[in-house]
Assembly symmetry: C2
Homo-oligomer: 195 residues x 2
């Protein structure tokens, strides 16, 4: 698996206007656990993209190349990419501490453009949202439609409850988001569970 190793004191998302770092890591931990499960059980190949870094200085220590100065760059794509049942899957994890709505400031313009590109070329793209300690899959198509049809700066929680797919925590893996992906995109009818 390729990913950056973060010391505990480093916040990951330097690009966001709002600091969701701690919340984000919780959701990311669940996704990492699921991806490891999918990999070990040969269900899918999904991994986190490394954060791009602009390298400005490199030294050699005992013949090993050591990066001694670099800058974190904003990702122009989403955090996770992979392959599931022959389909290209590209998605991101977003958390909010808001209770009544999901702020769109949490999604960058170049990420929206990337989602549009993926959908146009036949890929699967979505967001995994964490709000009110619940987890939802928001289809890329629905996100784009919402933004095109609304002038709001956030997605109301009622919209999420009605239009997104809730992923209930279970065991092995805890956040089995590919089960929902299969039902939505690949085959099988997804019956929304009664609330």
């Amino acid at each position: 698996m390729i990913s950056l190793l973060y010391p505990n004191n480093i916040k990951k998302n330097d690009c966001s206007n709002i600091n969701y770092a701690n919340r984000g890591m919780k959701l990311e931990g669940l996704i990492d656990e699921a991806n490891l499960y999918y990999q070990e059980n040969d269900i899918a190949v999904i991994y986190k993209k490394p954060t791009p870094i602009a390298i400005s200085k490199v030294d050699y220590v005992n013949n090993n190349k050591v990066l001694s100065k670099g800058y974190f760059k904003c990702k122009s794509t989403l955090d996770y990419v992979g392959l599931y049942k022959g389909r290209y899957v590209d998605f991101d994890a977003k958390s909010t501490i808001n209770k009544t709505s999901f702020p769109l400031s949490n999604i960058h313009k170049h990420q929206l453009k990337h989602i549009e590109n993926i959908l146009r070329h036949g890929g699967i793209s979505f967001l995994l949202l964490e709000i009110n300690n619940l987890f939802y899959l928001l289809k890329g198509e629905d996100l784009i439609s919402f933004i095109n049809d609304n002038t709001r700066k956030s997605i109301p929680y009622t919209y999420i409850q009605e239009n997104c797919f809730e992923i209930k925590l279970k065991y092995n893996p805890l956040l089995d988001y590919l089960k929902i992906v299969k039902e939505i995109y690949i085959g099988g009818n997804y019956e929304k569970e009664s609330k």
Copy 2:
């Protein structure tokens, strides 16, 4: 596009046993040019994965986070990933200065494992080879078969000429590798041009 920015004096591939860096950059430059062309003409979404870096020290300069110590890690996957006509595409660029064979030491074990995983889950995976100033697409399936059927430590050039798909340089883009990918994997008959 996400990728590392390298100062001119930094060799990219620290993990390889053999230094193909200068040759590799030439082929990589052609692939980058092609990917930009594909992106600008809305043909495909293909990008280079950033090199993973283990971060061990971060400072703050004028409120900006600056990486002040990090180590380059070997990639466990391939260099390029993307989406073309609804298909997941995952490949790597490999160059050799050898004239009679392509050394397999240039391909890491975890990369082979990754290719096997991609093929098993219905993705497209291949290598773009540069040898004798010519460019070839070697299908992942053929690479795996060759390694399983042979004890050789290199692929003879005669094998490459007979079993790989030559990509002739042209204009816009220079290395139009997706044309061959389309013909091999997606539809259309690829006629090997007479040598």
